[in-house]
């Protein structure tokens, strides 16, 4: 811990210096005021042109904000350096402590707490993304499966907490233990309601580290998420009552209060669902603006939050349901990269705000102004909050267990009640109290803070040992497997069938009905038709497994150096594999890669390529056109080319674009280059035809390459190219620079221009292209053969990788691409076995 602190302290101090200095500008610190005047307002009396001016006030607000975010995140960084610490004490508690320290520094500098967490910041800028994150990543099946229990805890439990805590405190107050406090029953109820919510931020922070079983997790999590909304609603109702005054409250008002509670809560959820539908529809048509696609998710969700707020409905519930409902359709509709982006951005925002919230919870405490101590009130609140939470959980669980299929065990209930962490929502609500109406506002704030600290720090720290000690069922992290998914699916079907046979309407029945409905009506509307086809879970698992394989395959291949891994000495299962590969490769490349007995890196084509009987090879060319080979090839070619080929020309190929991230695909430019080079080529062709020396040199090179050509011209994996280096380079140079004495230098610099030229128009270019080749080498069968083989490849798949792929195929660039690899990258061990002759 020594080192991180040493490193971090100056940073923190620097940040603090900035902030405290800034805040003191507001106060009556004469020095800083003059400082500021000198800098900004001094401009009016301009005598000469200032070269640089100090404009702190210009940037003060955003600057401070950014600084704070930075400071909070740095705190987190510091903690994460020490794993032992975070393993015992939850991060949230640590962040609160750091908040204390920071708050102390600020107070020491300012003699006042200039930075506190204001409700506006909290509710508008910090909370939404956390809730959205929670909703968006909600395991839907679990959530809706346990909806009954979650709703019970969230609504009944919260109301129970609020009412009992409020009433009990009031009762004790009447008993006279608390001394003279100016609080009436309604204010007690208000206080009770703001303390009633289990905080999702705090709960998540703790429970994410303690891996309890998923049912327990979803209960705690779902409850905390939904009851935030409930609490806010409850708080608003109570607040209205307080404003109304005790005299004017009668049965009608109370009923109105209940009705408003329901309307606000369900209305909020409805707003969320509506926005989720909008969002899903929107993502159906964002294909052409992929870059800002992820932005829609955030903006529309945020709008749902604000809209609900505007309609005075529960905004938290709105954004929760927006996230929960849209996830499936959004994820299916968007491109995979966008989905990943959303996922990460969501986490960045949520985790960032969480950090900020906890730090500020700590900072807010260091403010003598809000601290009003009333031992009885504070202690009793703490006790009541704990006790009623436990009673509430056990009572509700008892009722739920009568209906639940797997009853919640006692241990689960203990964890559930112990997981009743209060957090920033309670604090923000307390802060929002109207000091004019609620005279003991500060006492309530300080009590809330105490409760928050107690629950987050103490309960948070003890949660993990408790869970271990009670031997709560943990989640077992296992990898997805097909058979398991299959089995789960089969089991669903079995259960539904059994329910049908025994004639009951159970969960499975309802779920099945919903699934049917969803499939029939919702999916066609909310999901792209192309995405709809991929919606089978079983298949998705399969796809994912394959992707993983493919990835490890490529990584391994690259680790082994160049593409030696593509080759294998063993010939196994040739026919079967070949057929499979070519057929399946459409959706999943490399599917067979690990099903072969020869180890994970054998793929069918390589077996075939190793086969030395030429006829077979040529035959196989047809079949091998499966994408799987091409894809791996593409990736690798791409890599190799990136590394060696285009360096000099990079700036031409990578254009900055705000619209897309791919390679520059400026058709005109490419077209122009192409035509130019074609002309060039024709000329060079003519000259080579005349030139005797050149063609002589080419011939042996060609002959040498014939076997390779039959091997699908799979250039880079053939180390024997390094033997032909002289030939290849000369050969390529001869073609490219048109008979001039070729040097390596010229080839390399030339390569960059020549290659892109071939890309988009290879199909109509080929008539121009091939004849020269076949003419150049009078006895060379290979080039023409090669050209024929290449032709069908090119037009079919004009993807971004196309240029690179094609350029490897065209003879000259292919050599160019190969040469550096063969020389430099190929690891020595792969060389001896790599000569197929």
């Amino acid at each position: 811990m020594k080192l991180p602190w040493g490193a971090a302290t100056p940073l923190l101090l620097a940040a603090l210096a900035g902030t405290t200095w800034a805040s003191s500008a507001h106060n009556t610190d004469p020095q800083s005021n003059t400082n500021a005047t000198n800098g900004t307002e001094g401009n009016s009396g301009l005598t000469s042109l200032p070269i640089v001016t100090w404009k702190w006030h210009h940037v003060e607000q955003p600057y401070l904000m950014a600084l704070w975010v930075l400071v909070c995140w740095l705190c987190k960084l510091v903690f994460e350096l020490n794993h032992k610490l975070t393993a015992t004490i939850p991060e949230s508690a640590l962040l609160i402590f750091i908040g204390f320290v920071l708050g102390g520094m600020i107070w020491g500098a300012d003699k006042a707490q200039t930075f506190t967490l204001t409700p506006v910041t909290f509710f508008y800028y910090l909370l939404p993304q956390i809730i959205l994150d929670a909703g968006y990543f909600m395991p839907n099946k679990l959530f809706f499966g346990n909806m009954g229990a979650i709703l019970t805890y969230a609504i009944l439990g919260t109301v129970w907490n609020a009412v009992t805590v409020g009433l009990s405190l009031w009762g004790v107050y009447l008993g006279g233990i608390m001394g003279d406090l100016k609080i009436n029953l309604l204010e007690f109820m208000l206080f009770g309601s703001l303390l009633s919510a289990v905080d999702p931020v705090a709960v998540l922070a703790v429970f994410e580290e303690v891996h309890v079983n998923e049912v327990l997790f979803i209960l705690v999590f779902g409850e905390s998420l939904l009851n935030d909304g409930v609490t806010v609603v409850l708080y608003n109702v109570c607040d209205a009552f307080v404003t109304l005054g005790a005299d004017r409250i009668n049965a009608v008002e109370i009923i109105k209060g209940i009705v408003s509670f329901l309307v606000v809560a369900f209305g909020g959820a409805l707003v969320g669902v509506v926005f989720a539908v909008l969002l899903s529809l929107l993502t159906r048509c964002t294909k052409n603006i992929q870059i800002i696609e992820p932005g829609f998710i955030f903006i529309v969700s945020y709008l749902s939050y604000l809209t609900a707020e505007m309609l005075s409905l529960s905004s938290i519930l709105a954004i929760t349901f927006c996230g929960v409902c849209c996830q499936k359709y959004v994820n299916a509709n968007m491109a995979e990269s966008s989905v990943t982006t959303v996922r990460y951005a969501m986490k960045v925002f949520a985790n960032g705000s969480e950090t900020i919230i906890f730090v500020f919870l700590g900072i807010s405490a260091i403010d003598p102004e809000i601290w009003v101590w009333n031992t009885a009130f504070i202690l009793l609140t703490l006790v009541f909050v704990l006790v009623y939470r436990i009673i509430g959980v056990f009572a509700l669980t008892w009722i739920l267990n009568r209906f639940r299929l797997i009853p919640l065990e006692i241990i689960d209930q203990v964890v559930l009640s112990y997981g009743g962490l209060r957090g920033a929502v309670a604090y923000a609500l307390a802060f929002m109290l109207d000091g004019n109406k609620v005279r003991e506002k500060n006492l309530m704030i300080s009590t809330t803070l105490i409760v928050v600290y107690f629950t987050v720090v103490l309960q948070g720290v003890t949660m993990k040992p408790l869970v271990t000690w009670l031997k709560v069922k943990r989640t077992s992290k296992t990898e997805v497997s097909l058979i398991e998914k299959l089995q789960n699916r089969a089991f669903d079907h079995i259960l539904i069938a059994i329910e049908d046979i025994s004639g009951q309407i159970g969960h499975n029945y309802m779920r099945e009905k919903w699934n049917k409905f969803e499939e029939k009506w919702l999916r066609p509307i909310l999901m792209k038709s192309s995405a709809r086809k991929k919606q089978d879970q079983l298949f998705n698992v399969f796809h994912q497994l394959n992707l993983k394989d493919a990835m490890s395959y490529v990584t391994e291949g690259e680790r082994c150096g160049s593409l030696a891994f593509v080759r294998s000495e063993n010939n196994v299962n040739l026919d079967f594999k070949k057929k499979l590969a070519s057929d399946i490769s459409d959706i999943m490349p490399d599917i067979n890669s690990d099903s072969s007995d020869t180890g994970p890196y054998t793929i069918p084509m390589t077996c075939i390529m190793q086969d030395n009987v030429p006829t077979v090879c040529l035959d196989v060319e047809e079949d091998m056109r499966g994408k799987s080979m091409r894809d791996t090839e593409n990736i690798n070619t791409h890599h190799v080319l990136q590394m060696h080929l285009y360096k000099a020309r990079k700036q031409h190929r990578h254009r900055y674009s705000r619209k897309e991230m791919g390679l520059n695909k400026d058709e005109n430019e490419v077209q122009e280059i192409f035509q130019r080079t074609m002309r060039n080529r024709l000329e060079s062709f003519k000259s080579t035809k005349m030139g005797v020396t050149q063609s002589k040199k080419i011939k042996p090179a060609k002959k040498d390459q014939i076997p390779n050509g039959k091997h699908k011209t799979h250039s880079f994996e053939d180390a024997d190219f390094s033997d032909d280096n002289v030939f290849s380079s000369d050969f390529a140079g001869g073609v490219a620079s048109g008979g001039g004495g070729p040097t390596r230098l010229s080839i390399r610099s030339g390569g960059g221009i020549e290659n892109p030229a071939f890309m988009p128009d290879v199909d109509h270019a080929s008539p121009l292209h091939t004849p020269p080749w076949s003419a150049v080498v009078d006895d060379g069968v290979a080039p023409s053969q090669r050209a024929q083989v290449q032709l069908p490849w090119s037009p079919s798949n004009a993807s971004r990788l196309t240029p690179l792929r094609i350029s490897t195929r065209s003879n000259d660039s292919f050599i160019l691409a190969d040469r550096p690899t063969a020389q430099g990258e190929q690891p020595p061990p792969s060389q001896p076995k790599s000569t197929p002759k």
Binding site: K141, L142, G145, N146, E214, V215, I218, F403, R404, L405, I406, K473, S476, T478, S481, L482, I483, E484, L486, Q487, N488, R489, A490, F491, H493, I494, L495, I496, A497, I498, E499, D500, I501, S502, G503, Q504, I505, G506, H507, N508, Y509, R511, E512, K533, K534, Q535, D536, L538, F539, F542, L545, K579, L580, D583, I584, I587, M588, I591, N592, S595
Partner: protein, 202 residues
């Protein structure tokens, strides 16, 4: 309670049935009513056609197999006893039931549940799920249009995941190992235990 007793009294060997399946008399009564409802023409047994009248089963991809599981090999009928016994597979594991070492494996144990599921795959009863058998199940269960080759590769991969002894088929042992905690992972409302509770509720 009079009517309930009269219903129950119609069931032969009630005591043994309760003993064997672990259902309560109330469950049995409800199931008996259901049995009668399914039993068109009061034959006293169910034929596959009777099951066919449950229209939801027609849309269930493996509905046929499940119906098949109710009929022991070569038989065309299932009487109430067998009917209840099959359903008893889906009772939740009871924890408080005293474990007598000499008592036979309870009908609703995890193993027998798995065996039930296993038999749905293993149509030829050779104790192994072969590639073809798996393919058939997959074909019915995959919602989307999948080509035969894709199916085959999925099947291959699935077998490969489970196949420990390398015979290119899944034996019950392998099946059991792979699915050791499938049940744990199914979220509670979807667990087999559901059935009893709903029996109580309804």
């Amino acid at each position: 309670m009079g009517s309930s007793n009269s219903t129950l009294s119609k069931i032969p060997n009630l005591g043994r049935l309760i003993e064997e399946t672990g259902f309560t008399p109330a469950h049995i009564k409800r199931l008996y009513k259901r049995f009668q409802a399914l039993d068109k023409g009061n034959k006293g047994y169910l034929s596959p056609q009777d099951f066919g009248s449950v229209k939801e089963l027609a849309t269930n991809p493996i509905g046929d197999r499940i119906i098949g599981a109710f009929f022991s090999q070569g038989q065309e009928t299932v009487d109430f006893h067998s009917f209840v016994r099959i359903l008893a597979h889906f009772r939740p594991l009871d924890k408080n039931r005293a474990k007598r070492p000499d008592s036979p494996e309870p009908i609703n144990s995890r193993i027998s549940k798995l065996r039930f599921a296993f038999q749905l795959y293993d149509q030829d009863n050779d104790g192994k799920i072969s590639r073809d058998e798996l393919l058939q199940v997959l074909r019915t269960m995959l919602e989307m249009q999948v080509t035969e080759e894709q199916l085959e590769s999925i099947a291959d991969r699935t077998i490969q995941e489970a196949d420990l002894d390398g015979d290119n088929a899944i034996s019950f042992d392998e099946f059991r190992k792979v699915n050791a905690d499938t049940f744990l992972r199914i979220p509670s409302p979807v667990t087999p235990s559901q059935i009893t509770v709903w029996l109580i509720v309804l």
